[in-house]
Protein backbone atom coordinates (compact mmCIF):
# COMPACT_ATOMS: atom_id res chain seq x y z
CA UNK A 1 0.00 0.00 0.00
CA UNK A 2 1.45 3.43 -0.88
CA UNK A 3 2.71 5.43 2.09
CA UNK A 4 0.07 8.16 1.73
CA UNK A 5 -2.69 5.55 1.98
CA UNK A 6 -1.16 4.19 5.18
CA UNK A 7 -1.24 7.70 6.54
CA UNK A 8 -4.95 7.91 5.81
CA UNK A 9 -5.55 4.80 7.89
CA UNK A 10 -4.23 6.69 10.90
CA UNK A 11 -6.05 9.88 10.02
CA UNK A 12 -8.88 11.25 12.07
CA UNK A 13 -12.33 12.38 11.04
CA UNK A 14 -11.34 15.62 9.39
CA UNK A 15 -9.30 13.68 6.85
CA UNK A 16 -12.23 11.39 6.13
CA UNK A 17 -14.61 14.24 5.30
CA UNK A 18 -16.72 13.90 8.43
CA UNK A 19 -18.56 17.02 9.62
CA UNK A 20 -20.31 17.50 12.92
CA UNK A 21 -22.72 20.16 14.13
CA UNK A 22 -24.27 20.55 17.57
CA UNK A 23 -27.05 22.88 18.64
CA UNK A 24 -29.54 23.25 21.45
CA UNK A 25 -33.01 24.70 21.08
CA UNK A 26 -35.69 25.70 23.55
CA UNK A 27 -39.16 25.00 22.20
CA UNK A 28 -42.40 26.30 23.66
CA UNK A 29 -45.99 25.22 23.07
CA UNK A 30 -49.04 27.23 24.09
CA UNK A 31 -50.82 24.00 25.02
CA UNK A 32 -48.93 21.09 26.60
CA UNK A 33 -48.04 18.33 24.13
CA UNK A 34 -48.72 14.70 25.07
CA UNK A 35 -45.66 12.49 25.70
CA UNK A 36 -46.22 10.31 22.62
CA UNK A 37 -46.33 13.39 20.37
CA UNK A 38 -43.09 14.71 21.87
CA UNK A 39 -41.33 11.37 21.32
CA UNK A 40 -42.73 11.23 17.79
CA UNK A 41 -41.53 14.71 16.89
CA UNK A 42 -38.07 13.89 18.19
CA UNK A 43 -37.86 10.77 16.01
CA UNK A 44 -39.25 12.67 13.01
CA UNK A 45 -36.63 15.35 13.55
CA UNK A 46 -33.80 12.78 13.46
CA UNK A 47 -35.18 11.18 10.29
CA UNK A 48 -35.66 14.55 8.63
CA UNK A 49 -32.12 15.69 9.37
CA UNK A 50 -30.77 12.42 7.94
CA UNK A 51 -32.90 12.75 4.79
CA UNK A 52 -31.93 16.38 4.29
CA UNK A 53 -28.21 15.65 4.78
CA UNK A 54 -28.41 12.90 2.16
CA UNK A 55 -30.36 15.21 -0.18
CA UNK A 56 -27.60 17.78 0.22
CA UNK A 57 -24.99 15.22 -0.84
CA UNK A 58 -23.96 13.39 2.34
CA UNK A 59 -22.52 9.99 1.44
CA UNK A 60 -22.80 8.46 4.87
CA UNK A 61 -24.82 9.27 7.97
CA UNK A 62 -22.63 8.63 10.98
CA UNK A 63 -24.95 9.41 13.87
CA UNK A 64 -27.71 11.94 14.35
CA UNK A 65 -28.80 12.08 17.95
CA UNK A 66 -30.82 14.18 20.32
CA UNK A 67 -31.49 14.58 24.01
CA UNK A 68 -34.65 16.24 25.27
CA UNK A 69 -35.26 17.55 28.76
CA UNK A 70 -38.55 18.89 30.09
CA UNK A 71 -40.41 19.08 33.39
CA UNK A 72 -41.79 15.59 32.78
CA UNK A 73 -38.47 13.81 32.26
CA UNK A 74 -35.93 13.15 29.52
CA UNK A 75 -36.00 11.45 26.13
CA UNK A 76 -33.30 10.44 23.67
CA UNK A 77 -33.68 9.73 19.96
CA UNK A 78 -31.19 8.88 17.27
CA UNK A 79 -30.69 7.48 13.80
CA UNK A 80 -27.71 6.05 11.92
CA UNK A 81 -29.12 6.66 8.45
CA UNK A 82 -32.09 6.86 6.15
CA UNK A 83 -32.30 3.06 5.97
CA UNK A 84 -32.50 2.87 9.75
CA UNK A 85 -35.62 4.58 11.17
CA UNK A 86 -34.97 6.70 14.24
CA UNK A 87 -35.53 5.14 17.65
CA UNK A 88 -36.36 6.91 20.89
CA UNK A 89 -35.69 5.90 24.47
CA UNK A 90 -37.07 7.11 27.76
CA UNK A 91 -40.52 8.04 28.94
CA UNK A 92 -42.18 11.29 29.92
CA UNK A 93 -44.52 11.33 32.90
CA UNK A 94 -47.05 13.63 31.24
CA UNK A 95 -47.68 16.51 28.82
CA UNK A 96 -45.14 19.36 28.64
CA UNK A 97 -44.98 22.88 27.19
CA UNK A 98 -41.28 23.76 27.39
CA UNK A 99 -38.79 21.43 25.73
CA UNK A 100 -35.01 21.72 25.74
CA UNK A 101 -33.55 19.72 22.87
CA UNK A 102 -29.88 19.14 22.10
CA UNK A 103 -29.09 17.84 18.64
CA UNK A 104 -25.78 16.51 17.37
CA UNK A 105 -25.48 15.59 13.69
CA UNK A 106 -22.39 13.84 12.33
CA UNK A 107 -22.23 12.90 8.66
CA UNK A 108 -19.70 12.39 5.90
CA UNK A 109 -19.53 14.12 2.56
CA UNK A 110 -20.96 17.59 3.13
CA UNK A 111 -19.61 20.69 4.84
CA UNK A 112 -20.33 21.62 8.43
CA UNK A 113 -22.38 24.55 7.10
CA UNK A 114 -24.60 22.14 5.15
CA UNK A 115 -25.01 19.94 8.25
CA UNK A 116 -25.93 23.04 10.23
CA UNK A 117 -28.55 24.09 7.70
CA UNK A 118 -30.08 20.62 7.58
CA UNK A 119 -30.18 20.40 11.38
CA UNK A 120 -31.72 23.81 11.95
CA UNK A 121 -34.20 23.42 9.09
CA UNK A 122 -35.50 20.18 10.61
CA UNK A 123 -35.71 21.64 14.11
CA UNK A 124 -37.75 24.61 12.87
CA UNK A 125 -40.01 22.67 10.51
CA UNK A 126 -40.81 20.01 13.12
CA UNK A 127 -41.51 22.68 15.71
CA UNK A 128 -43.93 24.38 13.34
CA UNK A 129 -45.66 21.11 12.43
CA UNK A 130 -46.26 20.37 16.10
CA UNK A 131 -47.44 23.88 17.03
CA UNK A 132 -44.25 24.71 18.90
CA UNK A 133 -42.20 27.87 18.76
CA UNK A 134 -38.39 27.94 18.75
CA UNK A 135 -37.82 30.39 21.56
CA UNK A 136 -34.02 30.19 21.69
CA UNK A 137 -31.25 28.35 19.97
CA UNK A 138 -27.60 28.14 20.80
CA UNK A 139 -24.67 26.22 19.41
CA UNK A 140 -22.71 24.06 21.80
CA UNK A 141 -25.11 24.25 24.71
CA UNK A 142 -24.11 21.61 27.17
CA UNK A 143 -26.62 18.84 27.81
CA UNK A 144 -25.23 16.23 30.09
CA UNK A 145 -27.03 12.91 29.89
CA UNK A 146 -25.06 11.73 32.89
CA UNK A 147 -26.59 14.49 34.94
CA UNK A 148 -28.35 12.79 37.79
CA UNK A 149 -29.75 16.02 39.17
CA UNK A 150 -33.53 16.35 39.35
CA UNK A 151 -35.38 17.50 36.24
CA UNK A 152 -35.99 20.88 37.92
CA UNK A 153 -32.29 21.35 38.69
CA UNK A 154 -31.35 20.25 35.19
CA UNK A 155 -33.75 22.74 33.60
CA UNK A 156 -32.44 25.52 35.83
CA UNK A 157 -28.91 24.72 34.61
CA UNK A 158 -30.03 24.79 30.99
CA UNK A 159 -31.90 28.06 31.47
CA UNK A 160 -28.76 29.60 32.93
CA UNK A 161 -26.83 28.60 29.83
CA UNK A 162 -29.51 30.09 27.56
CA UNK A 163 -29.55 33.32 29.57
CA UNK A 164 -27.46 35.41 27.21
CA UNK A 165 -29.14 34.24 24.03
CA UNK A 166 -31.69 36.62 22.45
CA UNK A 167 -35.24 35.36 22.32
CA UNK A 168 -36.37 34.57 18.77
CA UNK A 169 -39.30 36.47 17.29
CA UNK A 170 -42.69 34.85 17.42
CA UNK A 171 -43.99 34.80 13.83
CA UNK A 172 -47.58 34.68 15.18
CA UNK A 173 -47.23 38.12 16.76
Amino acid sequence: MPEEENLLDDACYLDHGVSGYGVAVKLHAEKPLPPEEIAGLLREMMDEIARDCVARGARFVGHIKSHLVCSQGTLKADTIGVKHPAASHGELRGPAKDLYVAINSIVQGISEEEVKQATLAAAHSLAERHRLRVVKEREHLYFDEYDFASDEEHIAQLQAQFENEPEQEDPQR
Binding site: Y13, H16, G20, I106, H140, Y142, D144
Partner: protein, 231 residues
Amino acid sequence: MAKQNLRVVQIAGFLGSGKTTLLLQLSRRLSEERGLKIAMVVNEIGEIPVDGKVMEESGMKVKDIGGGCICCEVATAFAKSIADLARTFSPDLVLVEPTGVAIPRQVKAAAAMSGRTVTIEAGPVIVLFDSTRPEELLDPELMGRLVTAQLSDADIVAVSKADAVNEAQLEFARAAAREVIPTAEFIAVSATTGRGVDQLLERIAPGTEAGGDAANRGGIDPDSATRQGGE
Protein backbone atom coordinates in the same frame (compact mmCIF):
# COMPACT_ATOMS: atom_id res chain seq x y z
CA MET B 1 6.12 10.85 45.58
CA ALA B 2 5.25 7.49 44.00
CA LYS B 3 3.28 7.54 40.79
CA GLN B 4 -0.31 6.41 41.00
CA ASN B 5 -1.41 3.38 38.98
CA LEU B 6 -4.50 3.86 36.87
CA ARG B 7 -6.24 1.27 34.75
CA VAL B 8 -7.72 2.78 31.60
CA VAL B 9 -10.13 0.85 29.40
CA GLN B 10 -11.24 2.23 26.06
CA ILE B 11 -14.74 1.59 24.71
CA ALA B 12 -14.26 2.61 21.09
CA GLY B 13 -16.17 2.06 17.89
CA PHE B 14 -17.72 3.91 14.98
CA LEU B 15 -20.50 6.49 15.27
CA GLY B 16 -23.84 5.08 16.35
CA SER B 17 -22.48 1.70 17.38
CA GLY B 18 -23.98 1.96 20.87
CA LYS B 19 -20.96 3.04 22.89
CA THR B 20 -22.75 5.41 25.25
CA THR B 21 -25.56 3.00 26.09
CA LEU B 22 -23.09 0.21 26.78
CA LEU B 23 -20.77 2.45 28.78
CA LEU B 24 -23.60 3.53 31.07
CA GLN B 25 -24.56 -0.08 31.74
CA LEU B 26 -20.96 -1.19 32.28
CA SER B 27 -20.17 1.67 34.65
CA ARG B 28 -23.31 1.18 36.72
CA ARG B 29 -22.72 -2.55 37.09
CA LEU B 30 -19.02 -2.14 37.87
CA SER B 31 -19.92 0.36 40.54
CA GLU B 32 -23.01 -1.27 42.02
CA GLU B 33 -22.14 -4.96 41.71
CA ARG B 34 -18.36 -4.96 42.05
CA GLY B 35 -17.87 -1.98 44.32
CA LEU B 36 -15.45 -0.24 41.98
CA LYS B 37 -14.88 3.48 41.93
CA ILE B 38 -15.40 4.38 38.29
CA ALA B 39 -14.51 7.50 36.36
CA MET B 40 -15.62 8.05 32.79
CA VAL B 41 -14.10 10.27 30.14
CA VAL B 42 -16.43 11.00 27.25
CA ASN B 43 -15.48 12.82 24.07
CA GLU B 44 -17.84 13.96 21.34
CA ILE B 45 -17.55 15.92 18.12
CA GLY B 46 -19.74 18.95 17.77
CA GLU B 47 -20.09 19.94 21.39
CA ILE B 48 -18.10 22.05 23.80
CA PRO B 49 -17.81 21.00 27.42
CA VAL B 50 -18.68 23.32 30.25
CA ASP B 51 -16.02 23.56 32.94
CA GLY B 52 -16.93 22.03 36.23
CA LYS B 53 -19.84 20.08 34.78
CA VAL B 54 -18.75 16.86 36.33
CA MET B 55 -21.50 14.64 37.57
CA GLU B 56 -21.28 12.12 40.30
CA GLU B 57 -23.57 9.31 41.20
CA SER B 58 -22.84 6.13 43.09
CA GLY B 59 -19.09 6.69 42.98
CA MET B 60 -19.03 7.47 39.25
CA LYS B 61 -17.43 10.58 37.90
CA VAL B 62 -17.79 11.87 34.34
CA LYS B 63 -15.44 14.19 32.52
CA ASP B 64 -16.76 15.40 29.20
CA ILE B 65 -14.18 16.68 26.74
CA GLY B 66 -15.36 18.64 23.73
CA GLY B 67 -13.85 20.90 21.12
CA GLY B 68 -12.43 18.10 19.02
CA CYS B 69 -11.23 14.54 19.03
CA ILE B 70 -9.10 13.26 21.92
CA CYS B 71 -7.04 11.15 19.55
CA CYS B 72 -5.62 14.23 17.85
CA GLU B 73 -7.09 17.74 18.27
CA VAL B 74 -7.50 17.72 22.05
CA ALA B 75 -5.14 14.91 22.99
CA THR B 76 -3.36 17.09 25.54
CA ALA B 77 -6.62 18.00 27.26
CA PHE B 78 -7.42 14.29 27.47
CA ALA B 79 -4.04 13.44 29.02
CA LYS B 80 -4.51 16.23 31.54
CA SER B 81 -8.01 14.96 32.40
CA ILE B 82 -6.64 11.51 33.13
CA ALA B 83 -3.95 12.95 35.38
CA ASP B 84 -6.48 15.22 37.13
CA LEU B 85 -8.90 12.35 37.70
CA ALA B 86 -6.13 10.28 39.25
CA ARG B 87 -5.11 13.13 41.53
CA THR B 88 -8.54 14.31 42.63
CA PHE B 89 -10.69 11.18 42.48
CA SER B 90 -8.38 8.13 42.63
CA PRO B 91 -10.67 5.83 40.66
CA ASP B 92 -10.13 2.07 40.46
CA LEU B 93 -10.83 2.29 36.76
CA VAL B 94 -11.25 4.90 34.03
CA LEU B 95 -13.60 4.06 31.16
CA VAL B 96 -12.93 6.15 28.07
CA GLU B 97 -15.46 6.69 25.31
CA PRO B 98 -13.68 8.38 22.39
CA THR B 99 -15.54 9.93 19.50
CA GLY B 100 -16.92 7.48 16.97
CA VAL B 101 -14.24 8.55 14.52
CA ALA B 102 -11.22 8.20 16.78
CA ILE B 103 -8.41 5.75 16.17
CA PRO B 104 -7.94 3.63 19.33
CA ARG B 105 -4.15 3.42 19.11
CA GLN B 106 -3.98 7.21 19.02
CA VAL B 107 -6.27 7.47 22.04
CA LYS B 108 -3.98 5.01 23.82
CA ALA B 109 -0.96 7.14 22.91
CA ALA B 110 -2.74 10.27 24.13
CA ALA B 111 -3.56 8.59 27.47
CA ALA B 112 0.08 7.61 27.82
CA MET B 113 1.00 11.30 27.73
CA SER B 114 -0.40 11.56 31.26
CA GLY B 115 2.35 9.15 32.33
CA ARG B 116 4.49 11.87 33.86
CA THR B 117 2.35 11.83 36.97
CA VAL B 118 0.39 8.60 36.60
CA THR B 119 1.37 5.07 35.62
CA ILE B 120 -1.19 4.06 33.03
CA GLU B 121 -2.16 0.41 32.98
CA ALA B 122 -3.79 -0.01 29.59
CA GLY B 123 -6.72 -2.38 29.83
CA PRO B 124 -8.19 -4.07 26.78
CA VAL B 125 -9.24 -1.93 23.84
CA ILE B 126 -12.88 -2.80 23.22
CA VAL B 127 -14.15 -1.80 19.78
CA LEU B 128 -17.87 -1.97 19.09
CA PHE B 129 -18.97 -3.13 15.66
CA ASP B 130 -22.60 -2.47 14.76
CA SER B 131 -24.22 -5.73 13.66
CA THR B 132 -27.07 -3.84 11.96
CA ARG B 133 -24.86 -2.35 9.24
CA PRO B 134 -21.62 -4.31 8.72
CA GLU B 135 -21.47 -3.87 4.95
CA GLU B 136 -22.08 -0.13 5.11
CA LEU B 137 -19.41 0.24 7.77
CA LEU B 138 -16.75 -1.70 5.89
CA ASP B 139 -17.48 -0.20 2.46
CA PRO B 140 -14.13 1.25 1.35
CA GLU B 141 -15.96 3.87 -0.71
CA LEU B 142 -17.62 5.17 2.46
CA MET B 143 -16.04 4.94 5.92
CA GLY B 144 -14.48 1.50 5.51
CA ARG B 145 -10.90 2.71 5.84
CA LEU B 146 -11.60 4.37 9.15
CA VAL B 147 -13.68 1.49 10.54
CA THR B 148 -10.98 -0.99 9.49
CA ALA B 149 -8.36 1.10 11.27
CA GLN B 150 -10.53 1.11 14.41
CA LEU B 151 -11.11 -2.65 14.32
CA SER B 152 -7.42 -3.32 13.71
CA ASP B 153 -6.64 -1.89 17.15
CA ALA B 154 -9.16 -4.06 19.02
CA ASP B 155 -8.28 -6.56 21.71
CA ILE B 156 -11.98 -7.32 21.95
CA VAL B 157 -14.56 -6.72 19.22
CA ALA B 158 -17.97 -6.26 20.79
CA VAL B 159 -20.44 -7.07 18.02
CA SER B 160 -23.14 -4.69 19.19
CA LYS B 161 -26.96 -4.47 18.96
CA ALA B 162 -27.17 -8.27 19.06
CA ASP B 163 -30.85 -7.93 19.99
CA ALA B 164 -31.62 -6.06 16.76
CA VAL B 165 -30.53 -8.79 14.31
CA ASN B 166 -31.02 -12.54 13.94
CA GLU B 167 -28.26 -15.06 14.60
CA ALA B 168 -27.33 -15.34 10.91
CA GLN B 169 -26.92 -11.56 10.61
CA LEU B 170 -24.93 -11.54 13.81
CA GLU B 171 -22.61 -14.23 12.49
CA PHE B 172 -22.24 -12.32 9.21
CA ALA B 173 -21.16 -9.21 11.11
CA ARG B 174 -18.80 -11.21 13.29
CA ALA B 175 -17.21 -12.88 10.25
CA ALA B 176 -16.80 -9.54 8.49
CA ALA B 177 -15.00 -8.06 11.49
CA ARG B 178 -12.95 -11.21 11.99
CA GLU B 179 -11.52 -10.77 8.48
CA VAL B 180 -10.09 -7.46 9.62
CA ILE B 181 -8.76 -8.62 12.99
CA PRO B 182 -8.70 -12.42 13.36
CA THR B 183 -6.66 -12.28 16.57
CA ALA B 184 -9.25 -10.36 18.60
CA GLU B 185 -11.73 -11.89 20.99
CA PHE B 186 -15.31 -11.56 19.72
CA ILE B 187 -18.25 -11.03 22.04
CA ALA B 188 -21.83 -10.49 20.87
CA VAL B 189 -23.27 -7.70 22.98
CA SER B 190 -26.64 -6.12 23.62
CA ALA B 191 -26.97 -3.30 26.10
CA THR B 192 -30.74 -3.82 25.85
CA THR B 193 -30.87 -7.50 26.85
CA GLY B 194 -27.55 -7.62 28.70
CA ARG B 195 -26.13 -10.28 26.40
CA GLY B 196 -22.34 -10.39 26.56
CA VAL B 197 -22.13 -7.74 29.27
CA ASP B 198 -20.93 -10.16 31.98
CA GLN B 199 -18.08 -11.27 29.70
CA LEU B 200 -17.07 -7.68 29.07
CA LEU B 201 -17.18 -6.87 32.78
CA GLU B 202 -14.79 -9.74 33.45
CA ARG B 203 -12.37 -8.49 30.79
CA ILE B 204 -12.59 -4.91 32.01
CA ALA B 205 -12.21 -5.67 35.71
CA PRO B 206 -10.65 -9.14 36.05
CA GLY B 207 -10.47 -10.56 39.52
CA THR B 208 -13.46 -8.65 40.82
CA GLU B 209 -16.76 -10.33 41.45
CA ALA B 210 -20.39 -9.37 41.53
CA GLY B 211 -21.43 -8.51 45.09
CA GLY B 212 -17.84 -7.74 46.00
CA ASP B 213 -15.95 -4.75 47.23
CA ALA B 214 -12.86 -4.25 45.09
CA ALA B 215 -11.19 -2.00 47.60
CA ASN B 216 -11.15 -4.72 50.27
CA ARG B 217 -9.70 -7.26 47.86
CA GLY B 218 -6.92 -5.03 46.61
CA GLY B 219 -8.70 -3.81 43.48
CA ILE B 220 -8.51 -5.13 39.93
CA ASP B 221 -6.14 -7.99 39.22
CA PRO B 222 -4.85 -7.62 35.66
CA ASP B 223 -3.01 -10.96 35.84
CA SER B 224 -6.25 -12.86 36.16
CA ALA B 225 -7.39 -11.68 32.75
CA THR B 226 -7.60 -14.68 30.47
CA ARG B 227 -8.69 -15.06 26.90
CA GLN B 228 -11.74 -17.27 26.92
CA GLY B 229 -12.46 -17.15 23.24
CA GLY B 230 -15.74 -15.21 23.39
CA GLU B 231 -18.88 -16.63 21.91
